[in-house]
């Protein structure tokens, strides 16, 4: 019994559902996510697969707090399919208690789809606008234009959701600071309540990475830093608060689903390539429609690789690595209580050094990064990696 309590404590409180919809109409130049071309046959198989997968998942004892549909482009599915998917998820897990997000691409937003989502209880729409500059959009290989994005947003607002997020990308090759500032101020003035800003990354297996290795584009850290600071200024001016490296929201509109993953609570991933963290295991579904389906047809959820077994050490480490990416930081007392141990001495030393350099502040039992610290959050994460294993 005692052991059971301890495990429950490690696992954290909230539960989320992540659903991956792997279809995209084209591949964006910067995208390293797994996606498939939207052929009808594939979509039908996918929907059947989701039904099968859901039936194989043991009903969790906790209530579901949040749901997040990402991709790919979930909004690419026709209204009828969206409706079917919503019903399947709700009948399995019940209505998400606090938040239900669906990602959409401006080019595939339609009123009937939005209505179907809303009718089923979706509370939040997240849309990848990336930029309002058509030249930059084209250089990213996006399908939409700024006009189309504007129209899509109008529709979303017309149907009406509790929260709307827009994604923007900065430090695009060729982008000037002015262009970035105007992308931000335009976005912030559109009556939305959440924005995510992503510094353009060059991940392997993307078209952009190829351009980078061919020397056609280059990475300019100074520019990235400057643009990042511009995001801080503009969002603050518009009454948004940064709550994570790349996320800003009006009070009460933070994305709960993501917050819960960064706090190392639990989530179940459904659909090809979806990642789960549940019952002290971390695993991913096969990142390929065929493989994913093949396993399901044989009556099991296949995995991309052996599940990683989580213990207090790993979870503590990740709570710090990912927790420090949030502006609220981490509460050491809470973590100590959850994991039944203190920070390793070497980590304490590193934290002290960061504090001495103005990258971190310690207030009461809380640790959080300063702006300077957030600029190097990956380096800090790297520093912490493997430091908690016993």
């Amino acid at each position: 019994m005692e052991k059971f309590d301890k495990m429950a404590k490690l696992r954290g409180d909230s539960l989320g559902i992540y659903l991956h919809v792997p279809f995209c109409s084209t591949t964006c130049d910067f995208c390293a996510f797994y996606q498939e071309a939207p052929r009808r046959q594939g979509i039908v198989e996918y929907l059947d697969g989701i039904d099968r997968e859901l039936s194989l998942i043991e009903a969790p004892e906790k209530k579901v707090d949040t749901c997040f549909w990402g991709g790919g482009t979930p909004g690419l599915l026709p209204a009828g399919d969206l409706d079917r998917l919503c019903k399947a998820v709700v009948s399995k897990f019940g209505q998400p208690q606090h938040e239900w997000t669906v990602e959409m691409a401006p080019s595939s937003v339609r009123k009937d789809k939005l209505q179907a989502l809303k009718d089923n209880g979706v509370t939040r729409i997240s849309m990848g606008v990336q930029s309002w500059d058509d030249g930059l959009l084209e250089s990213l290989g996006r399908l939409h234009t700024s006009k189309l994005a504007r129209k899509a947003l109008d529709l979303v607002q017309e149907v009406g959701f509790e929260s709307i997020n827009l994604d923007l990308i900065f430090a695009i090759p060729g982008q000037t600071a002015e262009q970035w500032r105007s992308d931000l101020s335009k976005t912030l003035s559109l009556g939305i309540d959440h924005i995510s800003t992503y510094c353009l990354t060059f991940e392997e297996d993307t078209a952009l990475y190829v351009k980078l290795s061919e020397g056609k584009v280059s990475i300019d850290t100074e520019k990235e830093t400057a643009f990042y600071r511009v995001s801080w200024e503009e969002t603050e001016r518009a009454g948004f608060e940064q709550y994570e490296i790349s996320n800003y929201a009006k009070k009460g509109h933070e994305c709960l689903h993501n917050l819960n993953t960064w706090r190392m609570d639990e989530w179940i991933g459904v659909g090809p390539s979806a990642a789960s963290q549940s019952e002290l295991k971390r695993y991913s579904n096969p990142a390929d429609l065929k493989n994913w389906l093949g396993d399901l047809k044989e009556g099991r959820r296949g995995l991309a690789s052996e599940p990683e077994v989580l213990d207090a050490g790993i979870l503590f480490e990740d709570c710090l690595i990912f927790g420090l990416r949030m502006n609220e930081g981490v509460n050491l007392d809470t973590l100590k209580n959850r994991f039944g141990r203190d920070l390793p001495e070497s980590v304490k030393d590193s934290m002290e050094q960061l504090e001495g350099e103005g990258k971190l502040v310690k207030e009461g039992g809380k640790l959080r990064l300063t702006g300077e610290g957030r600029l190097v959050a990956d380096a800090i994460g790297t520093e912490l990696l493997g430091r908690f294993s016993d």
Partner: protein, 598 residues
């Protein structure tokens, strides 16, 4: 083949004058290598040689040439390196020859190693065939070259053959000259077998492969042989020739060059320069060998991963079998752990060895700041040799320190004399003699501390003279100098591997330079890092590695924590390849990079 129909010759020249390219043409003309498989600079067979476009080791090859008179002659050619660090390779090759083809780049004229290598050939009593090479170049100056030949080298201009290894001009003339002007194989009248060892390489399957020149008698598989220097006995397993790859033959006789494999287990027992004779019917007198080469520059080599120590040790052992001029001995460092103190002939030699360790033995290594060998006379009258700055005794125990010097011969166009004299002075050198070579060039003879030319002397000489200056040197005397140890501290920790011995007058400038250079090389970390130079606890210079400006990428949603962790792992992997001293990661090549002033 009759001994009198054999010729042995080397191609010698200043670096880059076209030896290996000319060898290509000879291989082609004699159909030794099929044109379909002949690569350019064919004899530069090591990867490193091909990449850098320089010859590092001498390469022997046997060719058969049908001369104009109709006789087929066996020509044993040795392509030699031109770089000053490898001049011992040249002298070893010459010892196995009766003649030398001396190339002069028609656009560059006679340079320092032209003179030095010609002198080596003369001292070994070889017949010299002068060749003005690269005459296809528009900037070729034949008149000047011929004049220099007479004035500087005292070789009659009418002896010279005009050639181009690139365009294939003069190839037959050279081959005919080798046949008619190079003496027949010498010392073949000795009744006993005498075979000179001029090189050896290590082969993973067959063990030591000994490169030999047979002067008299015969050597064949099954023979019992005797190494004359220490009377080691062995049995011959295989002999063969280079064509240029190894080809087995029944035997090697007087006038032949080839290889020998025997049953000597401990390969370090093979001495380059030794004479092999037949154990049943031994010769009484050895062939003239050559002076053992002694390393002049020392540096520590350490594995980045301490678990690679044994692998490194094994690698060094094998490299030494291929390279008698390289030495090593175990040592340890506070900063770097267990490793080896290695001796080299010069900086290029050092770089090459390090590169070979990385590649051929797959060990990531760190090498420390190079040092020469100092002689320290202690207060108690004892004299010790110090090749590692860490071992320099406390100043209070030192009576005086002597440092090695070199005697350098520098060739330069007249107009640069002022700048070069300044350079020599800047390097604490003294110029003893200035001589006019021809109307336009000067030869300077000077003495410079070895320590000073290690760093960038040659680079600066080249840049001042726009590539027309050259230098040759030999070891000179030890002289007294005001020297101290300078320590380098990274983030407050003294890193013993960076310590060096410097002249007091130069300490401050050198310290500043080192700190700044190091600050550039150490990648930015999360925090600011101070690099300081200190002498006896006093800080004399300082530079900062600025803290990392930005290192964060977003994209962490969908709950894929593993993916993000993998990205972080990747970054960490990059750091793991570095040497971590305290909490500072230093790239393994930092210790070498600090030397280069670009």
């Amino acid at each position: 083949m009759e001994t009198e129909n054999k010729r042995n010759f080397s191609i010698i020249a200043h670096v880059d004058h076209g030896k290996t390219t000319l060898s290509d043409r000879l291989l082609e003309h004699t159909q030794t290598v099929d044109t379909r498989v002949l690569t350019s600079q064919h004899l530069d067979s090591m990867d490193l040689e091909r990449e850098r476009g320089i010859t590092i080791k001498s390469h022997p090859v046997t060719m058969n040439y049908k001369c104009k008179s109709g006789t087929v002659v066996q020509l044993n050619l040795m392509d030699t390196p031109g770089h000053v660090d490898f001049s011992y390779e040249v002298s070893r090759s010459l010892a196995a020859c009766e003649g030398a083809v001396l190339l002069i780049d028609a656009a560059q004229g006679v340079e320092a190693q032209t003179v030095a290598n010609a002198a080596l050939a003369v001292s070994q009593d070889l017949d010299i065939i002068p060749v003005i090479n690269k005459i296809d170049l528009p900037s070729a100056n034949l008149e000047l070259c011929l004049k220099q030949l007479e004035d500087i080298l005292a070789i009659p201009a009418e002896d010279a053959i005009l050639a181009s290894g690139k365009s294939g001009i003069g190839i037959e003339d050279i081959l005919e000259a080798v046949v008619s002007r190079v003496s027949k194989p010498r010392w073949n009248d000795c009744e006993q077998t005498r075979v000179l060892i001029f090189d050896s390489v290590y082969d993973a399957y067959r063990g030591a492969i000994i490169y030999i020149r047979c002067f008299s008698g015969e050597i064949k598989p099954g023979d019992g042989i005797l190494m004359m220097s220490d009377h080691t006995r062995a049995e011959v397993k295989e002999v063969g020739v280079f064509s240029p790859h190894m080809v087995k033959t029944k035997s090697l006789r007087a006038g032949d060059v080839g290889y020998l494999v025997c049953n000597i287990k401990n390969v370090s027992e093979i001495k380059i320069g030794d004479t092999i004779t037949n154990a049943m019917k031994p010769a009484t007198e050895m062939l003239p060998g050559y002076q053992e080469v002694r390393p002049m520059v020392f540096s520590g080599i350490y594995p980045v991963e301490s678990s690679d120590y044994e692998k490194l040790k094994a690698g060094l052992g094998k490299l030494q079998l291929n390279d008698a001029a390289f030495s090593y001995q175990s040592e340890s460092s506070i900063a770097l752990g267990f490793g080896f103190r290695c001796g080299f002939l010069g900086l290029l030699h050092m770089e090459i060895i390090q590169e070979r360790i990385r590649r051929e033995y797959d060990v990531e290594i760190i090498s420390t700041y190079p040092s020469v060998v100092y002689r320290v006379e202690k207060a108690d009258r004892e004299t010790i040799e110090v090749d590692n700055p860490i071992n320099l005794p406390d100043p209070s125990h030192i009576e005086r320190i002597l440092e090695p010097t070199i005697r350098a011969t520098i060739h330069i166009p007249n107009e640069y004399v002022g700048d070069i004299l300044n350079l020599i002075m800047d390097k604490r050198g003294v110029c003893h003699n200035t001589e006019t070579l021809d109307g336009s060039r000067l030869m300077l003879e000077c003495v410079v501390p070895l320590n000073e030319i290690l760093i960038d002397f040659n680079d600066r000489l080249k840049s001042i003279t726009r590539g027309y200056g050259s230098m040759d040197y030999e070891l000179g005397d030890y002289v007294e100098a005001k020297l101290v140890r300078m320590d380098i501290m990274v983030n407050g920790d003294s890193v013993d591997a960076f310590s060096c011995i410097v002249h007091t007058d130069k300490a401050r400038a050198r310290g500043k330079e080192l700190c700044e250079r190091l600050a550039e090389i150490i990648p930015s970390h999360l925090f600011k890092i101070a690099v300081q130079a200190a002498i006896g606890g006093n800080i004399i210079a300082r530079a900062n590695v600025s803290a990392m400006r930005k290192d964060v990428t977003a994209k962490c949603y969908g709950g894929d924590i593993s993916r993000k962790r993998k990205l972080l792992e990747k970054q960490k992997e990059g750091k793991r390849k570095m040497k971590n001293i305290g909490n500072v990661s230093i790239p393994p090549d930092a210790f070498i990079k600090v030397l280069k002033s670009d």
